[in-house]
């Protein structure tokens, strides 16, 4: 039964992909849709039809070759109808993609802009109260505040851009002291929600543990694949929802002689961020998540430097 379900789902996806290839994403349609064709071809065909209509009974090259012109007329008329049909579907599909693209782009720009705005506003407000002998770094650098903002912004981006249900999103930053085997949540996007204990995750076969050990970031578009390959820790939530996606990025920062370790995680439960077997889409999705993670990494640098200063160069 489930094999049939997969076949239907796969077929539906493949059919959409095929239709998209036929009507939108191929050279012939792009050629037909080229602006130069729109300017050049219709007047030319119009001129030919007009000539047949007005001068058809008088001009020898028309009236003496009626059969040939009938054939040309039929071919041109058929092609015109076909091209109009293709163009109508192509424009409709392209419009839908453009709508999604604008939505994603707007969400992304909003995400980056609000990060800059937040920082700019803080600098603007703090600058007024700075003194020449005061601790400027402490006054203007608020990485925790900024990190909370990045995490909230990421959630908003996923909701608006990817259409993910807010209750399905889990974004966390785990911090740790590997030498002492101490791990804790530095930040959670939803503090009310129960998360698997950081230490349990880091000592088990979890995505975060894999990232920490390998030093690589990882994107798993389908958490079931992660469970199967033993790089995802199955929690009560993930078991209940079944499908989902996860992205993890490790950040190791050395300040003085101390090393600060963080694991940034974006998890989506109950929905997939992308089609788990479409390599091109997975790469695209991962690229976007990596861009977000870069902003988080930047704030984590400041966070570690601030922690180093606050604790007087002693591990947290």
């Amino acid at each position: 039964m489930w094999a049939l379900e997969i076949m239907i789902q796969t077929k539906e996806w493949d059919l959409k992909k095929l239709l998209f290839q036929i009507f939108v994403n191929n050279r012939a349609v792009k050629f037909i849709g080229h602006p130069a064709m729109g300017v050049f071809v219709p007047p030319l065909i119009g001129l030919y039809y007009g000539t047949l209509d007005i001068w058809g009974d008088e001009w020898g090259w028309i009236k003496n070759n009626r059969d040939v012109h009938e054939l040309i007329f039929t071919i041109l008329a058929t092609l015109t109808i076909l091209i109009l049909f293709f163009k109508a579907i192509s424009e409709a599909a392209r419009g839908e993609v453009e709508k999604q693209y604008s939505k994603l782009m707007e969400s992304m720009i909003l995400f980056f802009n609000t990060l800059v705005k937040k920082k700019r506003d803080r600098f603007f407000n703090k600058a007024k109260h700075l003194t020449p002998t005061g601790d400027t770094f402490k006054a203007i650098t608020q990485p925790k505040d900024q990190l909370e903002h990045v995490v909230d912004g990421t959630k908003t981006f996923l909701v608006n851009g990817f259409g993910i249900d807010p209750k399905n999103i889990g974004i966390t930053i785990i911090q740790g002291c590997p030498q002492q085997d101490k791990w804790w949540y530095e930040l959670k996007c939803d503090a009310q929600k129960q998360h698997t204990k950081a230490k349990v995750l880091m000592s088990g076969k979890s995505t975060a543990a894999y990232c920490f050990e390998s030093g690589d970031s990882i994107f798993i578009p389908d958490i079931r694949k992660g469970i199967k390959e033993e790089v995802f820790f199955s929690s009560e939530r993930s078991e209940k929802t079944g499908v989902g996606s996860i992205f993890c990025k490790p950040v190791r920062i050395t300040v003085g002689k101390l090393e600060y370790v963080y694991i940034f995680t974006v998890a989506v439960f109950g929905q997939n961020l992308c089609l788990p077997y479409d390599e091109e889409e997975c790469r695209a999705c991962e690229k976007i998540l990596d861009e977000i993670a870069d902003r988080v990494e930047l704030e984590l640098y400041l966070d570690s430097i601030k922690q180093y200063r606050t604790n007087g160069g002693i591990a947290a």
Binding site: W2, A3, E5, I6, Q9, T10, W13, K16, K17, F20, A93, E96, V97, Q100, Y101, K103, L104, M105, M108, F162, G163, Y210, E213, S214, G215, D216, S217, I218, F219, I220, P221, D222, R224, K225, G226, E229, E230, V231, G242, V243, G244, G270, N272, C274, L275, P276, Y277, D278, E279, E280, E281, C282, R283, A284, C285, E286, K287, I288, D290, E291
Partner: protein, 57 residues
């Protein structure tokens, strides 16, 4: 390095909700980001744990 652990077609019985238009838009956005970056870090796509472990640093 950045890794992606993708699934194989038909590997799991149920798929999440899919949107082909969004998928195309996501690819377009990623293309736009890539175009602006000359030093894009390498991304490796793998399909198994064995491959994940093999390429570890």
């Amino acid at each position: 390095m950045r890794k992606i652990l993708i699934s194989q077609k038909g590997e799991f019985k149920k798929q999440g909700e899919l949107n082909y238009y969004r998928s195309t838009a996501v690819k377009k956005i990623a293309e736009a980001i890539k175009d602006k970056e000359s030093t894009d870090e390498e991304t490796e796509v793998v399909v198994s744990n064995k491959a994940l472990r093999q390429t570890r640093r």
